[in-house]
Symmetry: D3
Subunit: 69 residues, 6 copies
């Protein structure tokens, strides 16, 4: 499947923290650079996420804000 979201970053799951409804997934996309995702527990289970798994962090470009100091 190929998707219209502009950002599809390859990474490795560093942590999976399941909650009641949502699961937090920490993805390392470069050494020392991690992106935290929150998805539904149902999705996390369906994707079989666990530490070390190769995944993609998928982000729409309009969901990326830019900030400066």
């Amino acid at each position: 499947m190929k998707i219209s979201a502009r950002n599809t970053l390859k990474g490795t799951v560093k942590a999976v923290v399941p909650g009641a409804v949502n699961t937090e997934v920490v993805i390392e996309v470069a050494p020392g650079v991690t992106i935290t995702s929150i998805i539904t527990k149902a999705s996390a289970d369906s994707l079989g996420l666990s530490e070390g798994k190769k995944v993609y962090a998928v982000i729409k470009s309009s969901d990326v804000m830019v900030a400066i100091d």
Copy 2:
């Protein structure tokens, strides 16, 4: 300013592509790892974005999807 969005990735502006209303900003967050953002032209002008500028890509964790092959 400190914000509730969980992802605040340090990076360098690699490209700024202005449109009529929106501007595309490409941010390198690690060597070879870029994130594309689309913000309003007004915001891009206000932030004074140009190639080489140090910025942050700010992304809410609920806006990060996870995909597997």
Copy 3:
């Protein structure tokens, strides 16, 4: 690719309306039921969208609001 977004609706492209930066894509997911998507022109070109193409409308469950009369 399998994604964490809960809604992946099969459909057929009914119309592609390109703008300067964004492209509007109308997807029929059932007879007479259409969903309108706005994606970047770059994404639309990359996906090779045109009328009649089989696609998926992908929507995160947290982006679906519910309304009543």
Copy 4:
């Protein structure tokens, strides 16, 4: 009330799954075509959602991604 969101799909509630904070609502928008929504429990209670209720799934066009196989 008339809203700027481009997609207002008529449907019938097929399931309401309440969690601690959020409630999952499954809406059938055509025979066999369902859309899953996650809203706050407070909103679900306020709307009086239950199986069989006629509702609308409201989705902004910029929240609809397009994917191909």
Copy 5:
């Protein structure tokens, strides 16, 4: 229509700035407090927006971030 989005702020349109695809709408929700919205031009036309019109700014609670100095 009653919607699941938690924030429905009454206001008055202060400015409508049409672009090629999108329209910027500035809504005053309290004296001196304005909220800027960007919607599609099609939606703005459909709603008949113009300066002085009474409208609602509708925002999902999960789209509101919190920041501190």
Copy 6:
């Protein structure tokens, strides 16, 4: 930090309602005008939110819908 989100509304925290994963924050942006935000509990703790604290409600303009009666 200065951010690309167009809406940065000054306000005062009126209520903080912690859940298991998410926290609801009610922000008064003008007398009698409140905006409800849902952020992760981790973010709320990190920001040290409590009743009476001065904060900003930060909202992207594309996340603000417009409705009319």
